[in-house]
Symmetry: C2
Subunit: 340 residues, 2 copies
């Protein structure tokens, strides 16, 4: 019998929602084939268009003007892609003041409009990205094919050019070794499961992204509806596994959670992956009622802040690995124990 | 510069002292060659002699009357040897009421008189064992050779029949990987280093026994004096390594100690070896001032109590491995955090 009170609420399990629209402009080579001048001219054109936007103010960044730490912080916040990070000649982006929407320029496509929302907000995030998309489309002629839809650099994005992703915390599915089963089910539904930093990355702290694979021959609304339904099922599955752990493996899961709590609140230095695994257990433990909630503690936020670059941006100090481990330890203990 | 205040005091480092005298009685075969009746008759004779002792009252135990748990508890308290545990036909022992002196009967020798003291007390322990030895010698004719001394079953004990052992907690020598060097130095001095349960055992929780190897051609007083001096040097070495850790590896040793503290006070089940390693770090941490002393906490006593059999004897419940791990966890957390 599942202990219903102990199940993870939707907002405990879903961390964030991301919508990304890939677009290209008629009359320009694909970014890979553009020279620097062409790319920069296109960037300027788009920056000038966005200056006319009444809804949001955008800040403009050129990749070549940012140092490694600054760039990495943007990647760790998921505001830019690792690919844009590497586009050192002509990569650029516009970031909205509320930091929800980024327009990536000269990445794999001319334009990638990305909107991130906390929690499960597929429709809202899509509406916001679409508004920016519509505004740009009034001024630009997008590469669009009557039959196929939006033309993109990589064939997997042709059609809607839409990738909808939901980031989830799935510790119980992970602890019970059911991730592989989930990957197989999702694949059959045309969805993929990825690690925290997207394509090709491993999961850290039981955080996974689920996103649509298919963009061709399917309407945007259907992509979102289908993903929404699957996410609801994944949440059910995670809760089923949480109930299993609590009912059938009570001592073991309590032991694991307590040990993670004991370790992360008692150390002098800690690596990012190690800390993420303990924070994952603590997040689960708070969900299961094994450890007490800490008033006002936002573990999702803490998980973002302790990343290798973010911890340096957060504390305003450049640090080597060991210094980061020490600073991360202090920052986490302060945050979790509300020490001053 | 060593931080002198943080060094381990003698009583932190030396756990206990043990004196053991091996004796055999003229006119009897060695225990290995005795039949059960002969062995039992000899036991009875010795029990009757000890009944006349004015100093101590002794309780008499026959190995065959004890079940495995009872026997194992005596071994874990170091009151009987693993060898006597296995002497299921004729093994027996007399235990003094203060539990300091055990007379092991029909083990490797007819008699083994053993006295254990807390801390470093070689002379006192020897005096107490000798008193029992002298009392027995008034009533029994010991096998004694004018030139060689006491005749024992194993040639390594011939001479004084004396083994003097000191049990020490050497975490800093252990952490800095200097145990092997110590073993080599001790070997040259005719001393041996063994694990917690004596011959052939591994160290658990950085606890080691140092004892004399040589018993022939050397006076009892010289054995004790020599061992005393070496123990003083080993304590100096341990303190030198503690100062090194605190001065040169401060963050790392604090990290190790804090993590052990965090783990042992936050879990639902814990194995014996794992718990011993954490308690060893905590004992070191209290010595170094890294973690606060707990009023009235006796870690040496706790280390004895959490052994696989002792935890059952202590709590008065027979338990399988998993139940012991859960009970050990509760007992340690209660003791360390002074919870009620």
């Amino acid at each position: 019998m599942p202990n219903m009170e102990s199940l993870g609420k939707l907002e405990d399990i879903v961390i964030s929602t991301r919508i990304r629209l890939a677009r290209n402009i008629v009359g320009h080579k694909m970014p890979e084939y553009m020279n620097i001048k062409e790319a920069n001219d296109l960037s300027k054109e788009i920056v000038n268009i966005m200056k006319m936007s009444k809804d949001d103010e955008y800040e403009y960044y050129k990749i070549r003007d940012l140092d490694d730490l600054e760039k990495t912080c943007f990647v760790e916040e998921h505001l830019i892609s690792p690919k844009l990070y590497g586009s050192i000649l002509s990569g650029a982006f516009l970031l909205s003041k509320n930091r929800r929407t980024t327009i990536l320029l000269n990445e794999e496509d001319h334009l990638r409009i990305q909107t991130i929302y906390k929690g499960l907000n597929l429709k809202q995030a899509y509406a916001e990205a679409s508004k920016t998309d519509d505004f740009l489309e009034e001024q630009l002629e997008y590469s669009f094919h009557e039959k196929f839809g939006y033309i993109t650099s990589c064939p997997t994005n042709i059609g809607t050019g839409l990738r909808a992703s939901v980031m989830l915390h799935l510790p119980a599915i992970s602890i019970t070794n059911n991730i592989e089963e989930l990957v197989n089910i999702l694949r059959k539904l045309g969805l993929t499961l990825r690690g925290m930093y997207g394509e090709g990355t491993q999961s850290i702290g039981a955080i996974y992204q689920i996103s649509n694979q298919k963009t061709l021959g399917i309407r945007e609304e259907d992509i979102l509806d289908r993903l929404n339904k699957v996410i609801a099922q994944v949440i059910d599955r995670e809760n089923e596994m949480r109930a299993f752990l609590l009912n059938e493996r009570k001592i073991d899961i309590e032991d694991k959670i307590l040990r993670s709590y004991g370790l992360i609140t008692n150390n002098k230095k800690i690596g990012f992956n190690e800390a993420m695994n303990y924070l994952s257990d603590i997040k689960l433990g708070m969900g299961l009622g094994v450890i007490d909630q800490v008033d006002g503690l936002d573990i999702n936020k803490l998980m973002l802040e302790i990343q290798p670059a973010k911890i340096q941006c957060k504390l305003g100090v450049r640090m080597d690995k060991r210094a980061r481990e020490i600073a991360r330890s202090e920052y986490i203990i302060k945050t979790l124990t509300k020490e001053e």
